[in-house]
Point group: C2
Chain length 544, copies 2
C-alpha cells in the first residue's frame, strides 16, 4: 500500500506509548485523593516519588532493561508501585500467580527467567521450598509490614528500607513501545501453565479503552470517574487486576488496596472508605454480601463488575436487592483482559426488571476498537442475530501476540488471524455478547449439544440453590449426560424439586428434556481452581 507516510521534522518528538506516559495525566496534579493500603495512606505526590525511589532501588539491585522482576504479594500499594516502576525502567513485570502449586510457581519463574523476586512474608515458605531449583533468580527483596520479621533466606533487603535510602528522582527513558511490560501465566486444562505477555503500547491502549468503558456503561453514573473510590477485588496477579489499577491511577482517583481478601475486611473497607467501584468473581461478591459485616453496611452506591465466571441471574438479583449495581465484563488472560462490558442506558432501564437482569448477566457490548465475530468450526462468520452460536473470535489492539516461547501454541490461539477465545457465544443485534459455554464444557448428548452454562443459569433460578455447576459425564447410550453439583441454600433441598423446576423450561421449549440432569449431587462446596473459578476438570475427573 503506497500510502503517504508521516514526514517528521528532525527535532520533533515521536511520542511512544509507554506506561510512564499514563502518569502524564491528571493524577500528577491530584492533591486530594490517596492510595490507601493497610495502615498506609499516600498522596499521589508521595506515590509518584515512591515510584522513582523503587526504580532507583531496582537499579541498585542490578535490574535494567530486558530483565524480569517477579512479584509475589497480596493487593497492595507496593504491587501498584511495581506495576509502574518495573516496566518504566524497561524491565518486565512477572505477576506470579501465588495460588498455583509450588511446582507450578517454580515452572513459571524458570520459564519467565525471573531475575529478581519481590516476595511478601506470607510466601517466603514457598520460595524456601523451591529456591534451590530457581535457575535465573539473582536476588530477593522482602515485602512486609512487620520489618522485624527476618527473611528466612538471604535477601537484598526489605522493600521500605530500600526505598527509604533510594533517591527521589529518576529520569525514566524512552524506548520501543513494543517492549514487553508484563507477563503472567494462565493455567489450561492440560499441560504446563502458558505465559502471556503485553507490551507498553498494548497496556496504554487498554488503559485508554478501560477509562472510556468505565465512564460510559451506566447512564445513571459512571462506574468510575475522578470522584469515585476504587477497590480491586480481583488479584493483581490476575491479568493486572483487569488493568483497572492503571486506569484508576491515570484518572487520579481515590484507591483502596485490600491486602489478602478476607470477606469481613473487604466489607468493612467498602463501608469505611466509601468504595464506589470494584470488580470481582461471583464467589467474592457472594462472600461479601454474606459476611458478618454486611449487616452493618449500606451497599448503595457500590458498583461492581463481575467477570472470570458468569454472573448468574440469581446473584444479580440478590446484589440489586442489597443496593449493589452489578455489571458483567468479559475477558481472559490472553486479552489483557477487556473485551466487553454491560451497558445500562436509558432504554435498558426502561425494561422490566427481569430483562434488565438478563442484560446485566450477559457479557455486554464490545469495547471500542474491539472487533468480534462468531465462527463455525470451519471459520464461517455467523450472523449477529442473537441465535447463531459459534466460537467467539476477536481482534483488538491489546491481545497477547503469542504464548511466551511457545510459538506453535500461539499460532493455534491465532488461527486464521483472529484470537480464539474457546467460548461458544452468540451476538445479539444490539451488539450484546451472550456466552453460551466454554467449547470444552459443552455437553454432547444424543447428537445434541447442550450448554452447561444454560442449565446452570436455569437451576440457579431455583430459590433453594446457592450455587451450581453442571458438567457432562460419559454415558454409554447418549455419549454424555449432564450432571449437576449443587450447594443448597436450605438443607431440605431434594433433587426432584430441581428436576421439576427444570421441567417447566422443557415445557416452554427453552431446553429439551435431555438437558435435565438425572444425576444431582448436593455438596457444601464446589471445587475451585487456584484463581477461584469452578474447576470442571476436577469435577469430571472425580466422576470418571
Amino acid at each position: 500500500m503506497a500510502t503517504r507516510l508521516l514526514q517528521s521534522a528532525d527535532s520533533a518528538y515521536d511520542y511512544p506509548l509507554l506506561i510512564k506516559q499514563l502518569l502524564q495525566s491528571n493524577q500528577r496534579f491530584e492533591t486530594e485523593h490517596q492510595i490507601v493500603s493497610g495502615e498506609h495512606r499516600f498522596s499521589y505526590a508521595q506515590f509518584n516519588e515512591r515510584i522513582c525511589r523503587l526504580a532507583n532501588a531496582l537499579k541498585a539491585a542490578g535490574i535494567g532493561p530486558g530483565d524480569t522482576v517477579a512479584v509475589m504479594d497480596w493487593d497492595s500499594h507496593r504491587y501498584l508501585e511495581c506495576f509502574f516502576a518495573v516496566p518504566m525502567i524497561g524491565a518486565v513485570l512477572h505477576t506470579v500467580n501465588i495460588r498455583l502449586s509450588p511446582g507450578q510457581i517454580l515452572y513459571t519463574m524458570n520459564h519467565a527467567e525471573d531475575d529478581l523476586v519481590l516476595v511478601h512474608d506470607d510466601f517466603l515458605p514457598i520460595i524456601d521450598g523451591i529456591k534451590d531449583q530457581l535457575e535465573t533468580v539473582k536476588g530477593y527483596i522482602q515485602l512486609t509490614d512487620q520489618p522485624e520479621n527476618a527473611c528466612s533466606f538471604e535477601s537484598l533487603g526489605e522493600y521500605e528500607a530500600l526505598l527509604a535510602k533510594a533517591d527521589t528522582a529518576y529520569d525514566f527513558p524512552d524506548f520501543d513501545e513494543n517492549s514487553i511490560a508484563t507477563t503472567f501465566y494462565t493455567t489450561g486444562t492440560t499441560g504446563n501453565p502458558k505465559g502471556v505477555f503485553f507490551s507498553h503500547r498494548q497496556l496504554v491502549l487498554h488503559t485508554l479503552n478501560m477509562v472510556n468503558t468505565l465512564q460510559s456503561r451506566n447512564c445513571d453514573s459512571a462506574l468510575l470517574d475522578h470522584e469515585g473510590v476504587y477497590m480491586p477485588i480481583t488479584p493483581m496477579f490476575h491479568v493486572h487486576a483487569w488493568g483497572i489499577p492503571y486506569a484508576a491511577t491515570m484518572m487520579g482517583v481515590q484507591q483502596v488496596y485490600p491486602g489478602r481478601y478476607e470477606p469481613n475486611n473487604l466489607t468493612r473497607l467498602i463501608r469505611e472508605e466509601g468504595v464506589t467501584f470494584s470488580h470481582c468473581v461471583p464467589t467474592i461478591l457472594q462472600m461479601v454480601m454474606q459476611s458478618g459485616e454486611a449487616a452493618d453496611t449500606d451497599f448503595n452506591g457500590w458498583q461492581v463488575i463481575i467477570g472470570g465466571s458468569a454472573l448468574t441471574p440469581g446473584l444479580a438479583k440478590q446484589a440489586l436487592e442489597s443496593g449493589i449495581q452489578p455489571f458483567s465484563a468479559y475477558g481472559m488472560s490472553e486479552t489483557c483482559p477487556l473485551m466487553s462490558m454491560t451497558r445500562m442506558d436509558k432504554n435498558s432501564y426502561a425494561l422490566p426488571a427481569e430483562e434488565q437482569i438478563a442484560l446485566r448477566t450477559r457479557a455486554g457490548l464490545p469495547s471500542d476498537l474491539v472487533d468480534i465475530q462468531i465462527w463455525t468450526p470451519e471459520g464461517k462468520v455467523l450472523a449477529n442475530d442473537g441465535k447463531s452460536a459459534g466460537e467467539l473470535v476477536v481482534r483488538a489492539p491489546w491481545l497477547t501476540q503469542s504464548y511466551l516461547n511457545e510459538p506453535e501454541k500461539g499460532a493455534e490461539l491465532w488461527q486464521g488471524g483472529w484470537l480464539h477465545t474457546g467460548d461458544i457465544a452468540c451476538i445479539h443485534p444490539d451488539g450484546c455478547i451472550e456466552i453460551k459455554d466454554r467449547i470444552k464444557d459443552v455437553i454432547k448428548t444424543g447428537g445434541e449439544w447442550i450448554s452447561s452454562l444454560e442449565i446452570e443459569r436455569l437451576i440457579s433460578q431455583h430459590e433453594d440453590v446457592a450455587a451450581v455447576t453442571v458438567v457432562g459425564v460419559p454415558d454409554e447410550r447418549w455419549g454424555e449426560r449432564p450432571f449437576a453439583m449443587i450447594v443448597p441454600r436450605r438443607e431440605q433441598l431434594e433433587a426432584e424439586s430441581i428436576q421439576q423446576h427444570l421441567q417447566r423450561f422443557v415445557d416452554d421449549g427453552t431446553i429439551n428434556k435431555w438437558a435435565i440432569p438425572k444425576a444431582i449431587q448436593l455438596v457444601d462446596d464446589i471445587p475451585k481452581t487456584s484463581v477461584g473459578k469452578i474447576d470442571k476438570k476436577r469435577i469430571r475427573a472425580q466422576l470418571a
Copy 2:
C-alpha cells in the same frame, strides 16, 4: 535500550491504529440514533453503507492510496463521510479552508498536490477562478442538494448520483498506521499558509482521548455521552471540527450537521433537534444567544466548549444566565487540536460564582497523555505555581510532526523536542492552564510586558462592553502602548468610563497603570480573520 520486544505468533493479527478501526465500536450496533444534515436523516447502518459507496466512487474516480482528495463544503453528512472514506482507502483528506482568499486556496491546493476536489455549489465560482492554475487536480465531484444545478465546468458527476450507482461493500485494507490521513493549512501572521498533517495513529489516539475528555470534564453530566445530541459549530475544515466528529461517530451518538452557519438556523436546530453539546468560537456563541430565534429557545441542557479565542468572563456569565454550560478548550491546528479542557468537579461547583467563571475561562486541565511545560526563552522549565509565565510547550501523541514540505519550519516548531505553541501561559498548581497571551500579542511598554488578553478580560467585565480587543501600538516614549477597540453594548459608552473601570484594578494591584489604554476606539465590529478570530495583525496595520 535492550528491552524485550514482543514476539508474535505467525498467525497473530498486529492491530494497526487506523481510522477504520473507529468504526469497530458501538456505532455499528446503533439502531436508534441518526446523522441529521439538512433534510437528510441517516441511520448509522445507512451511514456505514454510504462510506462504502463513497470509497467505491472514489476508486472509480481513479483515487487510491497516497492520493489527495480535497473537500470544499459546509458542515454536512457528506463531509463526515469523507472524514472516513478518504483516509480509509489510504488516501489523504485535504480539508480546504474555504474562508481563505482564492489566491491562498490555490496555493494550498497546489501545495497539498490535490488529485480530486469535492466541491459544493457555493464554491464553484472559486474553483472557476483558479481552475486553470491548479497543477495536480485531475477531476471534480459536485456536492449539492439541488442536483438540477449544473456544474459550471466539467466534473466526474454529482456526489449522490455517484454514490447511488456505487457498490454497497468495500473491503478496507490495512496499512501502516503512520500513513497521513488528513492535511490542512494554518495561516500565520506572515508568509504563505503552512500545511499540518495527521496520521491514522494520531487521529485514533486523539479520538480515544477526546472521548475520555468529553466524558470526564463535568461531574454533573458528561459533555457528550451515548445519549447526547452533538452539533459542531466549528467548521469541519478547521482542525477536523476539533476531531469531535470522529469521537461522536465512534460513540454512535445522534449528530446534527448544520450546513452553512446562520445564527437563526443554528438556534432553531439546537431547539428542534434537542442538541446537548456543541463547540464554537466565542463570536458564534454570542451570535446564537443574540439571534431572533433565541427568544423562543430554552438553552438549558446545552453544553458548549469554547475555543479558538478565549472565552471572556463576560460571555461566560451571559451564557450561564441563559442556561448554557460553557467550557473552555485549548488547542491549535498544529495539535490536532486538543491539549486541555475545563474540568468542573464537585470542588469547582462549591466555589463562589465568580471563581467558577474564572475556572471556565481558563484553558483547563491537560488531557490524558498530554505533557505540558512552561519555558523561559532560554528553555528553562518554570514552576507550575500559577504565577511564573513563559511559553507553553507540549508533547502528546497527536501533534503535527512538521509542516508539509517545510522541514525547516517544522524544526523551528519543535525546537528542543517540544512543540512550541507561541502562547505565554502559566500553570496553576491544580494543573489548570492560564493563557496570558500570544507571544506576538504581548505589549512591551516602558520595559514592562503587559498581557493584551488580561486587559481584554478586565475591560470585558464592564457592563456596557459587548466585545473588546487590545493591541500594542508603537509609542516613541514607551516603545508600545495599549490600544483598545470596543464594541459597546449601549451607544452612550464613553472611553472615560472604561478607564475608570480599569483604575479599580490598578488600585487593587491587578495591573499597573501603564496597562490602561489611553486610546480607545468604539466600533460596530472588530476585524476578524477568515476563521473568525480577531485579526490583531490587521488592527495593528490600520493603526500604524
